[in-house]
Symmetry: C2
Subunit: 216 residues, 2 copies
Amino acid sequence: MKGTRKIKDLLYEQVARIGKVFSSPKRLELIELLCQGEKTVETLARDASISMKLTSAHLRELRGAHLVETERRGKNILYRLAGKEVADLWVHIHTLAENRLIELQMELQKIAAQPDDLVPNDRETLMKMARRGEVVVLDVRPTEEYLATHLPFARSIPIDELRQRLAELPKDRPIVAYCRGPYCLMAVDAAALLRKEGFKSAYLRGGVAEWRLAKI
Amino acid sequence: MKGTRKIKDLLYEQVARIGKVFSSPKRLELIELLCQGEKTVETLARDASISMKLTSAHLRELRGAHLVETERRGKNILYRLAGKEVADLWVHIHTLAENRLIELQMELQKIAAQPDDLVPNDRETLMKMARRGEVVVLDVRPTEEYLATHLPFARSIPIDELRQRLAELPKDRPIVAYCRGPYCLMAVDAAALLRKEGFKSAYLRGGVAEWRLAKI
DNA sequence: CGATCAATCTAATAATAATTGGATTGATTA
DNA sequence: TAATCAATCCAATTATTATTAGATTGATCG
């Protein structure tokens, strides 16, 4: 009742350290990238379109909050998330944002490749269909990310190679593309391309992190 | 692939708006208070030990992110969370913080009233015992908060009145106190007092928000 | 070993956010 | 209607953060 205030301030202060990490757009993007698997600073910088110095500074923050771990591999330093719960929190935060911020909803709607690039709504039936080969689940992320983890039954064709490798895909069954997550846009582009080429295309909004959390 | 960057920045920017709200200790405390039910600015300011102006400013941020709603009631303005998901995210964030930050773990350990003020670990058995009257679940928050929501089978004795009302409690059965959450400390104080007075006391770390989320 | 590369550290500057004081709004009460 | 109260708005002043530049570290490779 008396000296409680100082303790409380200390406790909330600590929790806010975690919150701060999620308060910068760039850091959020880095976290989403790390959800795809471990990466070097260079790769992260390139994928997030920021300088290496700035990337390094942001990663420093992440490390300070114990949300990522590092490991030296030769010349490079690999970063990875310190646990699945970090990916989970990212999903929780962006989900809340999508629920609450009309602005974000509107932006996301604009992105939708085509009104009828239908997003299969129910994961279980999608998996059932994928298992039976009634749909093709297509991972359009870079190969390394596919190798790190991917959805069950997914095939890998990185978005850059898609145009050249269209022949590998069937025209009679729907092709469901996915990428890193709802802000990645590779899957949207892939779906649009496929549709233009006469395939039955669709895409998933989420990536592996969203999928994992939904399964639990 | 081309003008993607601008869109991405916009999207992450939006999500970061939510993250920013959770990046300030004071705002976190306000959120936890709002998890207990709707409150006026004055009440929030008092409970969080900050000036009304500053409280108002922080609440403005919360409102800007659509995480709280307001309603005028006579002279006062009531604030409430805009949805359960907001409380959920608060729980998710502080849980991650407790898992990742050793500093926070240490602080929380220091608080523990007594090594043997055992926290009943399993919610279901606790509820079973409460239903049968084998334990007394005691809500030590202010009465208004108890009225807004409380745990099943809980009795209300605000911490301020506890010393005067000890006679209402049994000495033969354990008394499990709880309050707003792990950073509130009222339950710890209550448990310490009860123990000193010869009761079998314990306390829960979580409050109603933590309980709700765990049940789902 | 000297050169190169990936990444970090340090310090400086630019951009944002927190906090406080003074004036203002909307509702209530004398 | 004037006085009061709760809360907000506005502007100014302080802290904190983000970002960039320059020097430095640790590992590899010729």
